[in-house]
């Protein structure tokens, strides 16, 4: 198993800790899902729809069944249980059911002795399609009389936020603008892959790179018509996730083929398939209106936001809720009117990606703050300081903020960040790198800032739980702590943190993290920046219970008074002690804990008001860019960030999250966009879909603030998502400042920069 880890020396919480899987990962020994293998293995392949929308008249699989090496060819009628699946609502057919709704939708699956045979057999499946007119524009999908994409209707959710006397037009100044954000691909390097095999009890085991093993299991059991206890999901080695592994990809197809053939089946998508094999970040169209007094006090915000959900729901309704809840950013504003629409189209489905709705709206609310600052003649950071949310303030969703709210501190720390070196003349560092054939005559520098806000843990009253089991047993060389949970290690470092917590709570050297699978209860998803607080909290709770039981044994064995645990001994106040190893002779101590965060409630459906979020994360970025204004090329020369993480259990890993998350925001700002043409992905490769390289990404200056959350375990706030939320908007602001023109379209492309410069002077930013 990928996650089998050798005991390594990992410190307790608060210290930089190396990964327990680090040695395996640098040595090439770590087994990712795509490395899995079993004897007698068959290979699966998927036939996908070439049409954005079509009726299926007939599917003829006879030719494929005759193809050399083929063991099974399955269509929707071979699904023994529920014919649909989905994370929030089961609205997507397991395989196309009478109609295809996006290019790339799975239509049939094949298992064969060799991958080449499986892929060749796909060409022998004859599908008689009747193409239909697709709906590819979300605005037209919302229009009255629009063609209905799905029996459940085109509207996935209309999220309403109403606060104060909405509709007011007070305030001295008003800025209005429309912003668009493109579709971002998670672009995890590990491709979708799974291995499934029948088990002796008539069930199935699926090894999959999933963010949430138990959610996969529930969906698998429903469609396989198996009792849930006969379905085991093992978290296989994950090559990055970023939201793309919340929904099922190949798991269910792999399991269906294994059930049909009675043999192990492996599936691995190609990179091209991967672009339609998982959901993307929703593209957004955002109309904003901000009003403020001449003194720079925000009075009212209105926004109307449309998210293209694609053909199936995935997490669209929740993304819409988040986009609405955080549409005003980390600012106090009395009058708020926000409408978010998540809409179905015949585009590939969109869903979770790091930031989950808060990332898109940050481009909008931060650009608005900059335009407002320009209108008012106030420094953009000063305007943010004047309107920053503070402890005791009420958020746009009506929640009173408790604990330290670090927004003003973030602003102050950004303002005092040391300036980067002056423009460098190195050709390599010029915008466009060595591809820039000028001598840098057209290069101008700009500085931009952005602040972001998001809740951590699941939202809108979700009863979020995580389970962990801790066993303390006598090992050959002394006591051993075993930690088990189903938390998915996607690279973020939850494996390290679990070991650190057990080290700290039980003060023992040897902590072994067991593989993550469904033989323990759900840890919830490695999403929503929640896993350290939730599974970390469960490990802590279990350790505390184990320690209590150990102390009870020590008292039975004669120790009295207040007991402490240190260096593999239980100490009593008078200096007497007993070895933990000796206390474990009568047997191991085990405890399984289920951790819950404080209770939250659903938001009012009419107003979006309530106590819907556990707590909030705040972040800010400063970007410094060099822009070749004539060629439209951008080099981010410096990226700095300030983030309140509550408490950094593993500071090195927190920095890693901040650096990597900032890179994904930079990518969205400048280069990353899944481009669609009539629902067809035009750039389904790493040649055409660009992500930041070592040449594009500056070193990140990270300032980590630690203001403990009053409710969460150890006071941690999430760390994973905020860096991706505000880094992109800061980069865009810096480019705008450099060229003196607004850039409302993200990603910012060279042609936008050149066109903005050529536009009339009336559009000029006054900053």
């Amino acid at each position: 198993m990928s996650t089998a880890t050798t005991p390594v020396v990992i410190p307790g919480i608060g210290a930089d800790a190396q990964r327990p899987d680090g040695v395996a990962k640098v040595s090439g020994d770590f087994a990712y899902a795509s490395d899995l293998w079993m004897p007698d293995l068959l290979w699966g392949a998927t036939l996908r729809s070439p049409h954005p929308r079509a009726r299926i008249r007939r599917i003829d699989i006879a030719g494929a069944l005759r193809h050399a090496g083929v063991r099974a060819v399955l269509t929707i009628d071979d699904v023994p249980g529920r014919r649909t699946f989905g994370l929030l609502m089961p609205d997507q057919p397991v395989l196309a059911d009478a109609e295809v709704r996006y290019v790339g939708e799975p239509v049939a699956i094949v298992a064969a002795d060799h991958m080449d045979q499986a892929r060749a057999a796909l060409e022998q499946i004859l599908v008689d399609y009747e193409p239909l007119e697709p709906v590819v524009d979300p605005m037209s999908a919302m229009a009255p009389g629009a063609s209905v994409v799905h029996p459940a209707g085109n509207l996935l959710r209309h999220f309403r936020l109403r606060r104060g006397q909405h509709g007011r037009d007070d305030g001295d100044v008003v800025v209005r603008s429309v912003y668009t954000v493109g579709t971002q691909d998670q672009a995890a390097l590990g491709l979708e892959s799974s291995l499934a095999f029948p088990t002796r009890d008539g069930g199935i085991e699926v090894q999959a790179p999933t963010q949430w093993a138990h959610e996969d299991r529930a969906q698998l059991a429903a469609s396989l018509a198996l009792p849930i206890e006969r379905v085991t999901v093992v978290v296989a080695g994950i090559g990055g996730a970023f939201g793309a592994r919340e929904d099922l990809s190949v798991q269910l197809h792999c399991a269906l083929l294994a059930r049909a053939t009675g043999r192990p089946v492996k599936m691995v998508l190609s990179r091209e398939e991967s672009f339609v094999g998982h959901v993307h970040r929703h593209p957004a169209r955002m109309e904003y209106e901000h009003r403020a007094t001449r003194a720079g006090r925000l009075t009212a915000v209105r926004a109307r936001i449309v998210l293209d959900g694609g053909a199936y729901a995935s997490t669209s309704p929740k993304v819409a809720g988040n986009a609405g809840a955080f549409a005003t950013g980390p600012y106090a504003v009395d009058h708020v009117q926000v409408d978010v629409f998540a809409v179905r189209t015949n585009n590939p489905p969109n869903g979770a990606m790091r930031g989950f709705g808060a990332t898109q709206v940050c481009f909008g609310h931060e650009a608005q703050m900059n335009r407002l600052a320009g209108e008012l003649g106030i420094d953009p950071l000063e305007l943010r300081r004047r309107n920053a949310l503070r402890s005791g303030d009420v958020t746009a969703t009506g929640q009173t903020l408790r604990g330290v709210v670090a927004v003003t501190e973030i602003v102050d720390r950004l303002a005092t960040m040391p300036p980067p070196a002056a423009t460098t003349v190195s050709a390599l560092r010029r915008p466009g790198g060595t591809g820039n054939t000028t001598r840098g005559e057209g290069v101008v520098r700009g500085i931009g800032y952005a602040l972001g806000m998001k809740a951590f843990c699941f939202t809108e009253g979700f009863d979020d739980t995580a389970e962990a089991r801790v066993t303390l047993r006598a090992g050959e060389q002394g006591p051993v702590v075993e930690v088990r949970s189903a938390a998915s290690e996607v690279g973020q470092g939850i494996s390290t943190v679990q070991v650190q917590i057990a080290r700290s709570e039980l003060a023992l050297a040897t902590v072994v993290l067991l593989p993550a699978d469904t033989t323990v209860g759900s840890a919830g998803s490695s999403s929503a920046s929640r896993q350290t607080a939730m599974t970390g909290g469960a490990v802590r709770d279990a350790c505390i219970a184990v320690r209590r039981q150990l102390f009870a044994r020590a008292k039975s064995a004669g120790l009295t008074g207040h007991l402490t645990l240190d260096a593999a001994r239980v100490h009593a106040e008078g200096g007497t002690h007993l070895s933990v190893q000796a206390l474990l002779e009568e047997g191991p101590i085990e405890h399984t804990a289920v951790h819950r965060h404080r209770e939250t409630t659903p938001l009012d459906p009419a107003t979006g008001q309530g106590d819907g979020f556990v707590s909030f994360m705040f972040v800010g970025h400063r970007a410094v860019v060099d822009v070749d204004a004539e060629l439209g090329l951008v080099r981010v020369v410096d990226l700095g960030t300030v983030q309140d993480v509550g408490l950094a259990l593993n500071p090195q890993a927190v920095e890693g999250q901040i650096e990597g998350g900032s890179a994904q925001g930079l990518g969205l700002a400048l280069m990353e966009e899944v481009q669609l043409d009539e629902g067809r992905v035009r750039n389904a490769s790493f040649t055409d879909y660009l992500i930041p390289t070592a040449m594009d990404m500056p070193r990140v200056r990270s300032v980590i603030l630690e203001h403990p959350d009053p409710d969460a375990a150890y006071g941690v706030k999430g760390a994973g998502e905020p860096p991706t939320i505000s880094s992109g908007p800061a980069v865009v602001a810096a480019v705008e400042q450099a060229i003196g023109h607004p850039l409302p379209q993200v990603p910012v492309r060279p042609e936008h920069i050149v066109a903005a410069r050529l536009a009339t002077a009336g559009d000029r930013l006054t900053r």
Partner: protein, 158 residues
């Protein structure tokens, strides 16, 4: 066709179809899955190996092109121990999901064998063909610089 290739110092006999890539042969026939595939077109660098001492993307090399040549993969780079780049990636935290790590180790080790004191721009250029989605590269750069120091015998914190 059947041919011989030296992989990590061992002479191996391989039978592969004409269209098979070196990556296919390493992973599927020689059971060396440490070399990763993520893009199949030489863009991501996950499959970086050394062919006669030169850095190549194994997905772009036909297997037969490796006939009678010398291949070093992630499984062979450290000999019996670990290469300084591997040690430093662990120490600096330049690994998250780790999928790009084998390729980065091979590219960085190649650089440091040519130039043990590269400046940051040189490291960035050497790693420009290795995509990493998790780290943002900051700690990877730290690791390569520290490995260079270690190789120059100046100690870790020099």
């Amino acid at each position: 066709m059947t041919f011989q290739v030296t992989v990590n110092g061992r002479r191996r006999t391989v039978t592969a179809g004409g269209a098979a890539s070196l990556l296919d042969v390493l992973r599927d026939d020689l059971h060396l899955p440490g070399t990763k595939g993520a893009c199949e077109e030489g863009e991501c660098g996950s499959c970086t190996v050394w062919l006669d001492g030169e850095v190549v993307c194994a997905c772009l090399v036909l297997a037969v092109q490796a006939a009678d040549r010398d291949v070093v993969t992630i499984e062979g780079i450290g000999g019996d121990g670990r290469h300084p780049v591997q040690e430093e990636l662990i120490r600096t935290g330049g690994i998250q999901c780790g999928f790009c790590t084998p390729g980065i180790v091979m590219a960085a080790a190649d650089l440091l064998h040519r130039d043990a004191e590269p400046d940051e721009d040189v490291i960035r250029e050497a790693l420009a063909g290795n995509l990493c989605r998790c780290t943002g590269y900051t700690k990877v750069l730290d690791a390569v610089q520290a490995a260079g120091r270690r190789m120059r015998g100046q100690g870790l914190d020099a």
